[in-house]
């Protein structure tokens, strides 16, 4: 388990934009990924309230979704976002970190389907949710399910 977190950390370190937003893995495995992003005044969308911009939350959810695909048991070699639909429920509370929980809940031979939610400290009321379709490149010689 510590191995996979280590690998996950290297994965984030290798993505310049994930590093730029300060993203950190909380857990990873079996088609599920949890990634958090600290609050940062540079990512504010509404200066009057200090609320984070939706785009920063989208970037976090997209990263968590891609990570969920990559750790699916079919062991894909690469993935890319085909489409992502984001629903915004409420403003994130200023000063609080955002945590994205993504699950790759279905895969076909070449497509992965993911759902993800984003929360601040109040887990019970997510700030946003998204569903996406991702490309799935299987290892050569791998069997389709």
């Amino acid at each position: 388990m510590t191995d996979i977190i280590q690998i996950a950390r290297q994965f984030i370190e290798a993505i310049p934009h994930a590093r730029a937003l300060g993203m950190e893995f909380e857990s990873l495995g079996d088609g599920k990924a949890v990634i958090s992003m600290p609050y940062d005044p540079r990512f504010v969308g509404d200066p009057a309230t200090g609320v984070l911009h939706g785009g920063a939350v989208s970037a976090l959810m997209d990263t968590a979704s891609g990570a969920a695909v990559m750790c699916h048991p079919t062991a894909p070699v690469s993935t890319a976002t085909l489409d992502l639909r984001i629903d915004y429920f409420r403003a994130a509370t200023p000063g609080q970190a955002i945590t994205a929980r993504a699950e790759c809940y279905h895969v076909t031979r070449s497509v992965a389907f993911v759902r993800v939610t984003a929360s601040d400290d109040d887990d019970a009321r997510p700030v946003a949710a998204a569903t996406g379709a991702f490309t799935l490149d299987r290892p050569k010689g791998g069997n389709a399910r």
Binding site: P16, F43, G55, A56, A59, T63, Y88
Partner: protein
């Protein structure tokens, strides 16, 4: 009968550029991503100059999908707010060169991004089109490209909530039906 001479072109440009600056300067995340806007009359083009920190896949390399989503969403929100601001300014109801009250930005309800090809490590451009703007809700479509205008690398559609003033009439500075 006296005919009023039209204002000098520099005065008009100065006012319009001040309005656009006023709209953008308050949003830290727009500055963080480095997004700029090119204005030709009332037409806006969003520009995302390439930067290493925008990369999501270092192997290709390609822009981060989240960056693309954010870029499209920013282009849509600014287009929506700009439409209303332009009307107010051209009608002479606000003077952006004087103290301009901060514009309340529309809130995103949902946003769908269609990734058509990977974003190359180069500058990207986007233009938004308001398909419907009512008193409370608006629907906006955005197209983004890099080298060729006809070869989009992403497109998006979003629904937005128009900020309502306390008395319930449409907000000044934002599009109304």
């Amino acid at each position: 009968m006296t005919v009023q001479r039209p204002e000098p072109v520099q005065v008009i440009k100065q006012r319009r550029d001040a309005a656009l600056r006023g709209l953008l300067s308050g949003v830290p995340y727009i500055a963080y991503l480095g997004i700029q806007f090119d204005r030709r009359g009332d037409e806006l083009t969003a520009i995302l100059p390439f930067d290493e920190k925008l990369i999501g896949n270092p192997a290709l390399p390609a822009l981060h999908g989240g960056v693309t989503a954010a870029f499209l969403e920013v282009a849509a929100i600014i287009e929506l707010a700009w439409g209303g601001l332009w009307e107010e300014m051209e009608a002479g109801r606000i003077d952006p060169t004087a103290d301009m009250a901060p514009v309340r930005l529309p809130k995103t309800i949902d946003f769908t991004v269609d990734y058509l090809r990977s974003g190359l490590p180069r500058d990207a451009y986007a233009r938004a089109r308001i398909n419907r703007s009512g008193r409370r809700y608006a629907s906006v479509h955005v197209e983004a490209w890099q080298d060729n205008r006809a070869r989009l690398f992403a497109q998006g559609t979003g629904h937005f909530l128009i900020p309502q003033p306390p008395d319930g009439t449409p907000e000044k500075g934002l599009p109304s039906a």
